[in-house]
Subunit: 197 residues, 2 copies
Amino acid sequence: MRLARPLENLIDQLLKLPTIGPKTAQRLALYILKMPPGEVRQLAQAIIDAQEKVFPCSRCGYLTDTNPCAICLDETRDKNILCIAEEASDIIAIERTGYRGRYYVLNRNFNLMGDNSLEELNLEPFIEQLETGAVKEVVLALNPDIEGEVIARYLAGIVANHGVKATRLAHGLPVGGDIEFADEITLRRALEGRKEI
Amino acid sequence: MRLARPLENLIDQLLKLPTIGPKTAQRLALYILKMPPGEVRQLAQAIIDAQEKVFPCSRCGYLTDTNPCAICLDETRDKNILCIAEEASDIIAIERTGYRGRYYVLNRNFNLMGDNSLEELNLEPFIEQLETGAVKEVVLALNPDIEGEVIARYLAGIVANHGVKATRLAHGLPVGGDIEFADEITLRRALEGRKEI
């Protein structure tokens, strides 16, 4: 197959992105060729700008273009409650729920199952916040997998040492989910956490 | 939800692309933030280059960065056989089969079901080729839908008027397909086109 070199190059670049397979890469590349030049430049510029201008907030780790980030600066937020997440993308999801506390994002790219040990978690800014005494509750919003479980238990110990309450997200059936297809661990947790109605 | 503005802008730009929904756009944008700056610039540049440097070949309409395109210039290709396709992406697919003739791509963005009429098809370069007498067979590789059918019949008439043979791609079961799930028209065509083994 002979493809024009700039087209082939674009397909190769798109293939490096997650969720983009060969067919999608080709389809996207051919679509980009048909886009108005102004829009193509906007897309290219948006890619460069996002990477150059967005960085983790030095206080909470959330992705921001101002430091501290808008969430840290928001005086209407509850300073008593601090939610710990593994990734900035988790915060985006939690924000949608209407949660109004603050956040702390653990190291990005931390991989306990790989080479990292728990001591490598960047916890200093978090512990400083605990030491101010403002935080009354730490919500451990770690992923419900083995790594999240290990990190949650480790952090719960640190939080307890500072005399602060540690909580975690409830396990149970996903809303709209089907009992028939729930795995046994989820279903057991849902039973254990059953509530009177 | 508060997102850093350059991040939000990138998500919006990605959302304009086909096959990219809100979740994928967010995932891609967050991934781009983590990419090494050099790779991000390469991606942005590849997008701009592809659109600036790739254009339809003036002879056959295939996407190229040289004019005429490499396929048109390839002297080892069979000049007697000309394959007509609706889109340059169809040619990419046909090239993979090992076909060694030449091509002609109809107008891009032609929409018979919309506002376009058959007279608006850009056929002049195609008819010029027919008139040279070099073409002995025209393969009508139009999509197997109503629009493709109408265009194929229209072109078959023009081809016949030049005393040239017009053929079309065979209909039948897709290889690896399941008879049980074949639609009745495809199955009928497969029966009509049955071959002795």
